[in-house]
């Protein structure tokens, strides 16, 4: 079930589902205790330049979480952790 949340984390890029038919360099939100695959609603889940542009940033992300996916609807820069 999708839940509306806010999370603070660092956006990184790393392999997802290695060796599988979903294998790709995904954009992740690494939070203190968990990590999510970042996706934009309606965005390409395999290659989204707008998300790739966030790699390396620490952000406060707002959106909906479904299992391991964070559907990002809004974000702003967060102070260093």
């Amino acid at each position: 079930m999708a839940v509306e949340v806010q999370e603070v984390g660092t956006v990184v890029q790393k392999r997802f589902a290695a060796g599988s038919k979903s294998d790709h360099e995904a954009v992740w939100l690494e939070c203190k205790d968990k990590q999510y695959i970042l996706r934009r609603p309606g965005g390409n889940p395999f290659s989204d330049p707008e998300l790739t542009a966030l790699v390396g940033k620490r952000i406060q992300a707002r959106g909906r979480v479904q299992d391991y996916i964070f559907f990002l609807t809004d974000w702003k820069n967060a102070p260093p952790g």
């Binding site: 599988s20 038919k21 979903s22 294998d23 889940p45």
Partner: protein
């Protein structure tokens, strides 16, 4: 007489659809009447109804979400009635998928803790979450889905009517295909298309092709897609290098399919029946869209799937076997069963990824539908009685085959259940380094049921020792950029400290 059970949870149906549940019951009655006209004796079985289940000597399902209760109920119905076909009516909020623990889950690479599955409903083995227990399916099962989380009865009524009105097509009508591949998997897809259709010259490659497929391609009744798919996403994607363009858009499917279309989809999550409300733009998934657009049989995966670049393995083979059986005139349900059995029988043993592959693929559609009119050997069939005898003999053979697989097949544990020795761990780390895999994680699995492989002439056994363990080696490396062909998952067969065989599940 050929018989079918249509299994549902009436209370869950009523809770979901309210007064409209009666409309769906009427639709089911129309299907039963149509089946009767086709020589199939069908009955509706409410597995939550105490009186009904008493007839099967079993308790009713009291919690529609309880996977064990649902498995037990279907087993009781099958054990008592031995139906030729089991139709699961509804999506997972009416009859849940079974919750098989994903053998290759590690949270970083394979992020599916559960390989949602209808496979256990097709197996004699009792309820379990261990994939190792479900390698010998014996039953013909399919699911006619509704839309998860939606109370609009029109969707399921449409699917029931499509099943009522289906007519088998000629073999020639299923010869042309819409076969689409991610560019990086062209080699593998070409092999599949050649095996199924005798030619791959019509293969469509994404990129550059798609997603607006012209009507002359969309209208073909055979669809084979070897593309990427994503969790809660209504698209398939191609790939060339780091480009992942849309290869198929569910929004472009409606009104394009010819009734009776058969789809085998190798994409991850291709058969995921997610609630449209979970998708940020509210769109139905590919499987639901195909079914409502006239597809009569959709074979796909609920979760992350595996395959090969240039050869055929895992999903490539399972989908190929399915379509071959369809084209040979099998019902869609029998095609799914034969595909599972052929897959399980191939090779010396079943690895952890083999177990996930078997578990995750399911059939959507009425399993009694025969898309391609089969050839009839006139000298063998003598009227309805003869046909029924042939049908029963096929079922007996399939049951015997499934049981033989369980009895004899070497198979990995369904969960990591051992630790590699220090010597082997070092050997695996050295192997990982050779494949540029930093910080490898190792999941280790025992192998059971190896007696059949061990009781061979000694000279042969010496040349090919039997694997006693599988080890999945994955890389957790954090990368900023990486070559697309970086190999990040190895499947290793070992006997004690000796590595026997290494399989690269090559990055795509």
């Amino acid at each position: 007489m050929t018989n079918k059970v249509i299994v549902c949870n009436s209370a869950a149906l009523a809770a979901k659809y309210g007064a409209n549940a009666n409309l769906i019951q009427n639709g089911v009655n129309r299907l039963i009447a149509a089946d009767n006209a086709r020589g199939i004796q069908s009955r509706y079985v409410a597995i939550d109804d105490a009186a009904t289940m008493q007839g099967f000597h079993a308790p009713p399902v009291t919690n529609p979400a309880d996977t064990r209760q649902n498995k037990d109920a279907v087993d009781a119905v099958y054990g008592s009635a031995a139906p030729d076909y089991i139709l699961l009516l509804g999506g997972p909020d009416l009859i849940p998928h079974q919750d098989i623990v994903n053998p290759v889950y590690d949270g970083n690479n394979d992020v599916d803790p559960i390989a949602w599955s209808d496979l256990p409903y097709a197996c004699d083995a009792p309820y379990s979450q261990n994939a190792q227990d479900f390698i010998g399916p014996t039953r013909v099962v399919g699911r006619l889905p509704d839309v998860t989380g939606s109370a609009d009865p029109e969707y399921l009524l449409n699917l029931l009517d499509l099943a009522v009105n289906y007519v088998a097509g000629s073999p020639a009508s299923y010869a042309p295909y819409l076969g689409v591949t991610a560019s990086v998997w062209s080699g593998s897809t070409a092999l599949s298309l050649n095996a199924i259709f005798g030619s791959s010259t019509d293969m469509q490659v994404s990129p550059p092709a798609g997603p607006a497929w012209p009507p002359k391609l969309f209208s073909r009744k055979s669809h084979f897609f070897n593309c990427h798919g994503a969790d809660i996403d209504p698209h398939f994607y191609g790939q060339q290098g780091t480009q992942f363009p849309i290869a198929l858009d569910a929004g472009l499917v409606a009104g394009q399919l010819t009734e009776g279309t058969v789809m085998a989809a190798e994409a991850c999550y291709a058969a995921q029946l997610y609630a449209p409300a979970a998708e940020p733009t509210g769109r139905m998934g590919m499987a639901n869209t195909y079914m409502s657009s006239g597809c009569s049989a959709y074979f796909g995966s609920t979760t992350i799937a595996y395959g090969e670049f240039t050869t055929n393995a895992d999903a490539d083979l399972l989908c190929q076997y399915f379509f071959e059986a369809i084209r040979a005139g099998a019902s869609s349900g029998r095609a799914a069963l034969q595909a599972r059995q052929n897959y399980a029988r191939a090779g010396a043993s079943l690895s952890p990824t083999d177990l996930k592959t078997l578990a995750q693929y399911l059939l959507l559609g009425d399993p009694s539908i025969v898309p391609v009119a089969p050839p009839v050997a006139a000298h063998l069939i003598a009227g309805a009685a003869g046909e029924d005898r042939e049908h029963a003999n096929r079922r007996k053979f399939l049951i015997a085959t499934g049981r033989e697989i369980v009895r004899t097949k070497a198979v990995s544990s369904g969960r990591p259940d051992r630790a590699a020795s220090a010597t082997l761990t070092q050997a695996l780390r050295t192997l990982a380094q050779q494949f540029e895999m930093d910080e490898p994680a190792i999941l280790s699995f025992s192998v059971r049921n190896t007696a059949g492989l061990e009781s061979v002439p000694r000279a042969l056994a010496a040349r090919a020792p039997v694997a006693s363990e599988y080890h999945i080696v994955t890389s957790r490396r954090l990368v900023d950029t990486a070559p697309v062909r970086l190999i990040s998952l190895l499947e290793v067969e070992a006997s004690g400290d000796e590595i026997l065989r290494t399989r690269q599940l090559v990055s795509r």
